[in-house]
Every structure is written in C-alpha cells, then in structure tokens.
Amino acid sequence: MMRTLRAMPTLIRVGMVEAIAYRAEMVVWLLTTTMPLVMLGLWTSVADEAPFRAWGTRDFVAYYLVALIVRNLTSNWVAWQISEEIRTGAVSGRLLRPVHPFTGYLGTHLGAVPLRAVAVAPVLVILLWSSARGVLVTDVAHLALVAAAIVGAWLLTFGVFLCLGSLGFFLDKAMGIIEVYFGVFAIMSGYLIPLALLPAWVRDIAAVLPFRSMLGDPVAIAIGRVPDAGDAARLVALQWGWAIALLALASWLWRTGVRRYEAFGG
C-alpha cells in the first residue's frame, strides 16, 4: 500500500508527459465528444421557436455546455486501453510489476486531466460569457458540491470503465459491449437529452442506475436545478456510493479475470 502511494506522484507525472506526447490523439478524443454540441444546435433552434416544456434557449445552452465540460473532464479511454492490452497480451507485462495495474492506469488517466482541463477552458469561457451564465449556481455550498460531484463523477466513470475493460478477460468482443454500453449511458445519464425531458418511465429506470450520477446529476446541480443544498448533498453522497461500489466491482472483476487469463495462458 505504502509503495503504491509513494509511486503515485511519479505515475501521475509520467501520465502527464504521456498525455502531452500524444496530444494529437487527445485532440481527436476530445473532438469525438460532439454529441452535446449537435444536440445544442438542435435544441436551441427548437427552443427559439418556443420553449420546450418550460426549457428555454438559455436552459439548453447551460445544460449542454456544462455537460460537455463534465464529460470531457471525467471521461477517459481506460476501457479501450485494457481491452487492447488483453488482446495483444501486453497486460502480462503489467501483471509482473510490483504495483497493482490499476495504479498504472490511474496515473495515466489522472495525468491527462490537466491537459483536458486546458482543452475545455474555452468552453467554460464561452459559457460564462453567454446569457446562460445567469442560470449557473453561485453560492459556496453549491459550488463546493459541484466540485465534489465532478471528482465523484471522475472516480465513478473510472470505475465503470475499469469494469468494462476487465470484461476483455471473459469476452472476445468486449469492444462491442462498450459500444452498446455507450448507447445506454447516453440516454440514462442525460447525455443525449436532459432526463427532465424524457418520459417518466425512463426517469424511473435511470433512478436505479449509476449513469445519472456520472453526468446528469453533476450538471443539474451546477445549473441550479437542485436549489436545496441538502438535496444536492444527497445526490453527491449517492454518487460517491456508486463510485465505491463500482471500483470494488472492478477490482473483483479484474482479480477473477486475471485468474482466468493465467489459467488459459495469456
């Protein structure tokens, strides 16, 4: 444990150097998150004609820009990385190191966050400059909860992707599962359309899934849709609960997967 903690700063620093070295790749990854922008273009046109179920243009601008920021800050490609390493056998190298592979992945993807933050800064600037800024929360309590929610969302997303990546130990077509997952995520997290605008039965299902905590809830808190700080705090607690649960699940999946991998000869 102590060895892991000591190794972390180095791993993160290496992760940052990696991120900068592969900056072209990073740009491409960022460019692939076009969905919020496309939706924004669509819904602002719709709302310009007439507010859509009490959501005006300002509301949509705030929602999708914040969603874009949160998505880019919290997303990472560790699921893809793990499934590739399993496929090529490179994961064996990781298993031979004295630190748990998860710390290596953590370093890589945590190290990319500063660069991602720099990349989404312009979006934040645009948001603050637009008329939508009036919708954003300004009190300390909510801002603190937003910060906690973003960290929680990062950990939860990391946990989910570790789980998905670890499926590569059991399934040949893990990449296919990841694509199907994205479809479910896009709806159940509010990434595609704000959950408030979806039918009630969809919202009911989303309430028992972790996806809302990955994106929809942090965004809702940030744009003032959870005015009561207590309610917001409960959402953040739920989110961190999901994060811990999924990280534990990821750990178990990994352990089981490695045993299977070693049994069948990587």
Partner: protein, 264 residues
C-alpha cells in the same frame, strides 16, 4: 485496360473481406441485433421532440424521418465500406507493413480504400431502407421516379464527400502515426447529419453545411426524395463533391510524399 485491372483488383479484395467475414458467422447475427438496437436508439430524440410539437424548422415527423433514414444508410456504408479499411491502414502504417502497399504497381489510394470491408453492415443499410419506407408510409405518399433518381445522384455525391473526408483523415495518419481513435473522429463528426441541416441556426448552420459539409450527405438526398430540393442546391452539391474529391487526392499525394520523404 486499366479499368479492367482495377475492377479485377476490387473483386479480389472484396472476396478476401467476404471470406474473412464468413469465418465469423456469429457476427452477422450480433450485427443484426445491434442494427436494430441503434435504429431504435436513433429514434429516441425524434420521438421526444415530436411528442411535443408537430413541426420543427418546417420539417414534419415523416420528413425528419426521411433524413434520419438517410443517416442510417450512409452510416451503414461508412461503417461497412469505409471505416474498416481505415483501421487496416492505420495498423499497417504502425507495423510498417504499409511499405508492401507501396511496392505494388497499383495506385496506393485504391489499395488502401479497398483493404477491408465489413459486409455484415449491409444489415444497417437494409434497416435504413426499411425506415425510409416507413417514413413515406407516414407521409402518405411515395417519391416519384424523377425524385428517386435525383435522390440517388445526390446520395452518391454525399458518399463521395464522405469518402473524400475519410481519405484526408487517413492522410493525417502518416504524420501522426498513433491515431487509433481516428475511426471515431469521422463517425462522431458525422453525428450531426441525422438532423435536417436547416434545423441548425446561425453559426451552427455555417459549421455543418460548409465547414463540415454534412448537409450534403443526408439532408440534400432527403430533400430530393421529398421533392423540395432546388436545381441550384443540387448543382452546388455535385460541385462540392467534385471539389472535395480533388482536394482529397491532393492531400493524399502530399501525405505519400511526406512518408517517402520526397520533399527532404
């Protein structure tokens, strides 16, 4: 003579892809299911939108469905005939096996474009055609033969634009070799093409119609089928397609020159 040569070459490449695909027969079933999954998923925003109102930017539900159907068809062709080769080429460049492509006495761009197909994506295209038929049933009338002809011509123009953009993206792989995620770039940029271009206002309209000419790919062929495309727009489409194809060829040659360090 050259045409016959390239036709034979295409047949050989296609057969190789088909043979590989046949090895993974289960994939066809899985692909059928995922086609249906994404078809349904694509309809979600449409259903939400038109639940509240009957017309968006002048487009009725049926008309918007026609655009969506074109999106599904073009996407099926993108994922079935274009992107697989991209994955193959990027892998070749990384492993150095691309050198063998350059040692062959055929045009490298042609070899690269036909390297691999994913034939099971034809199910996507079928799904899109099915959606198209349903859309016209909703609209209560079918397109005239002239409209179908115009629609096919503009669809071909749209595919030419898609292909041109794709070649330009592949070309960047020569300069920045580690681009595994290139496959996702075109697909995600293409995401906007599921909506009629006129839905986007102001700066979005400019971006999606001119900077990334997606309107060309889905909206215009859809308009042709619906009989609402003007002569000027149609000619504009064709000109745009030709220009992009020429630009793509130039970018490709530039990339090859860089790879073989012709300039240094």
């Amino acid at each position: 003579m050259r045409l016959g040569y390239y036709a034979r070459l295409f047949a050989v490449q296609a057969r190789a892809s088909l043979t590989t695909a046949m090895q993974y027969r289960a994939d066809f079933l899985v692909q059928g299911l995922t086609s249906l999954y994404w078809l349904g998923w694509n309809l979600v925003p449409l259903l939400v939108l038109y639940d509240d109102r009957s017309s968006v930017a002048g487009w009725s539900f049926g008309a918007a469905l026609v655009v969506m159907a074109h999106f599904v068809i073009v996407r099926g062709i993108l994922e079935g005939a274009i992107n697989p080769s991209l994955g193959a080429v990027v892998e070749q460049i990384r492993s150095g096996a691309f050198d063998y492509t350059l040692l062959r006495p055929a045009d490298a761009q042609f070899l690269v474009s036909t390297a691999r197909f994913a034939p099971w994506r034809a199910l996507d295209v079928l799904g899109g055609v099915g959606l198209l038929i349903y859309a016209f049933v909703r609209l209560g009338h079918g397109p005239s033969p002239a409209q179908v002809g115009a629609g096919l011509v503009l669809l071909a123009a749209g595919l030419a634009v898609m292909y041109g953009l794709w070649i330009m993206i592949v070309a960047t792989a020569f300069w920045v070799v580690r681009m595994d995620n290139l496959i996702y770039l075109l697909s995600s940029v293409f995401d906007a093409a599921r909506w009629p271009a006129s839905v986007f206002r102001g700066v979005w309209r400019v971006v999606f119609t001119f900077v990334i000419p997606l309107a060309l790919m889905t909206t215009f062929p859809a308009r042709a089928l619906l009989g609402t495309v003007t002569w000027q727009a149609g000619i504009g489409c064709l000109v745009g397609a030709i220009l992009i194809s020429i630009a793509a060829r130039l970018v490709w040659r530039l990339a090859l020159r860089s790879y073989t360090s012709a300039s240094s």
